[in-house]
Amino acid sequence: MSKITAEDFELRKLPQLGYKVFTSYFLAMWVLVFMTVITLLGTLYQVDHGLFAAKQKYFHSWGLMHRIGDGFPLPGPLEWAKDLRIPLPGGFLLMLLLTINLTIGALIKVKKRAKGVGMLIAHFGMIFLLVSGFVTFAFNREGYMALYEGQDSNRVESYRQWQLEIIPLDESGKAEKALVIPPADLETIHKGEKRTFQSADLPFDVVLSDFVGNAVPVPVAAPIAKDAIGPEIDGYKLLVQKAAKEAEQNLPAVIASFRPKAEGGASVDAILSARSSNFDPREQPMAYGFEIDGKPYAARMVKWNWAVPFEVRLDKFIFERHPGVSMARSYESRITRVEGDADKAVEIKMNEPMRHGGFTFFQESFGPANARPGDAMYSQFAVHNNPADQWPLWSLVVTGIGLFIHFVLKLFDHTSRGRGRAPSSVTSTSA
């Protein structure tokens, strides 16, 4: 690859300059250096801030400001520097640059020769791996499904995000549908903002405010309530909690005001909190009940959830502990997959997931955490919907084939050159 000179910076030569930069070893080298740096810093950041926060800041970003003190306990004389911040490129930008660099440099610009076909295939495999990483990043949706034996479900719940449901009730307190305010509409409510939602199916508007990512409702009589925020509703206020290290432990809350569309109707206010869930698949979250225009409604925060196109019924959960301790030795689930009229028995074990209809069910964990021997236990599956699920495997196969071809060609090249030199060597010796 040719060197970049001052002449390359002329306006008319900018496209060529871009081509040179994006195909340069210089760019590849610096991208790899920065990838090493952000991997190190991101791993250190994870210690104090958790995996999710580290991924978001260091690896799912265009750029970031790294605080020097994050992960590095600075010695006394340098402690003043701990709050200084240095700008760094994010993992997304670096992967994009590497993909462009590899694609143009190693596939397009490189001279196509029979001898180089192995390396060409190997580079294609590496680019395929980067592309599969991007597709996973952009389109993968993951959640979990937890079931006790005998339970069935077709719904997958998010680990970290919550939705708000408004539920019209009938006279017996039952419901047929829930109107959903999704996480994207909840999490973006700014401080001081009142966001209004409406539906033709509801005789009232829903006004949401004071969304907090992790909060606990506390009685105003509690001493710690002096630090609580927002309006007092039913004797409670919201106490903001520090964001949890593991993002799935954050329990958000929001202030909801249900305002009748008809003039003269009285508004109903409520604190809605994720703490109304107890995370047991046998129990539903506690809802807030209210009446407007003489009709009963309920409102609650539940995990953001979505449907898969089949039902999963847990027939048997096999769980074994190490002798004398509560630690799990092995666990697996026997399920029935129900799709229309077709039932299929499937075993899901560690490292033996069920793949079906674009969804992958992994045996993830079990609960409840405080279960004692003999207690009923639930099985939890991690559910991934990833279009690039098997792409990393294929890309490694392609890369492996490319390297194999390359080594075989090199071997032939080496042995044929050896054969070519032998006669002259013999001649020389005989001479």
């Binding site: 978001q56 009730l169 039952k174 549908k177 994207a184 939602f197 409406q198 506390v218 009685p219 909690q241």
Partner: protein
């Protein structure tokens, strides 16, 4: 759509609509409920809905939670007298002939406001300066419910909740335990001499606490 890609439409929206109020949003997603999901559980009270510990659901406030209602057992040290009806407290004892000292246990969901805030709130009640996170991390630990709680020992002028005025030469012993299951606070206050005489009882009481 991932947050990274949300940026583009958001930027476009900001550019086009930076001066306009977006107005009410339509609720477009409707979820059909089936099976047990149709049986909606409506809580009777905020305490039930927020899954508050027992002392916040009115038990203690309205006359005291019975021993069986509490999810733990304990041993009452000699000379301590249990007080019923103390709001926000699971257990409350008076200590001393003139009942000038007290010890109580309370619980809160979550981190209960956080360790640092609570340690410094207690120190503030004794007129002591707040501590940094590093100083709090270095505080001694004492066992509580089989886990390690942060032990606070402060002497000074006590002006706690409901106190008529600052009480000089008081001492406070306390343990704060934060866990995923919630926060537990045990706190003893009283004249310094009385607290010193009951220091062993404080440890005995804390070590006797066990889940039921």
């Amino acid at each position: 759509m991932k947050p990274l890609f949300r940026f583009l439409p958001i930027a476009a929206l900001i550019t086009l609509n930076s001066c306009s109020d977006p107005g009410p949003r339509e609720i477009v997603e409707v979820r059909e409920l089936s099976g047990k999901e149709q049986e909606i559980v409506v809580a009777d009270s905020p305490a039930e809905r927020f899954r508050m510990p027992s002392q916040m659901s009115g038990g203690a406030a309205s006359g005291g939670a019975g021993e069986a209602a509490l999810p733990f057992v304990w041993t009452t040290p000699e000379g301590w007298e249990r007080q019923l009806g103390a709001p926000m407290r699971d257990l409350s004892f008076t200590i001393g002939e003139a009942k000038e000292g007290e010890c109580y246990l309370s619980r809160l969901p979550g981190a209960g406001g956080g360790l640092t805030a609570n340690v410094n709130r207690w120190r503030g009640q004794m007129g002591a300066e707040p501590m940094t996170d590093e100083e709090i991390a270095a505080l001694p630990k004492k066992p509580l419910f089989g886990l390690e709680g942060v032990f606070v020992d402060v002497t000074g002028e006590f002006s706690g909740m409901g106190a008529a005025g600052a009480k000089p030469n008081y001492r406070m012993l306390g343990i704060i335990l934060t866990s995923e299951a919630g926060a537990v606070f045990v706190k003893m206050t009283g004249p310094a001499e009385l607290v010193a005489a009951n220091e062993a009882n404080f440890d005995l009481f804390c070590q006797s606490l066990k889940p039921r």
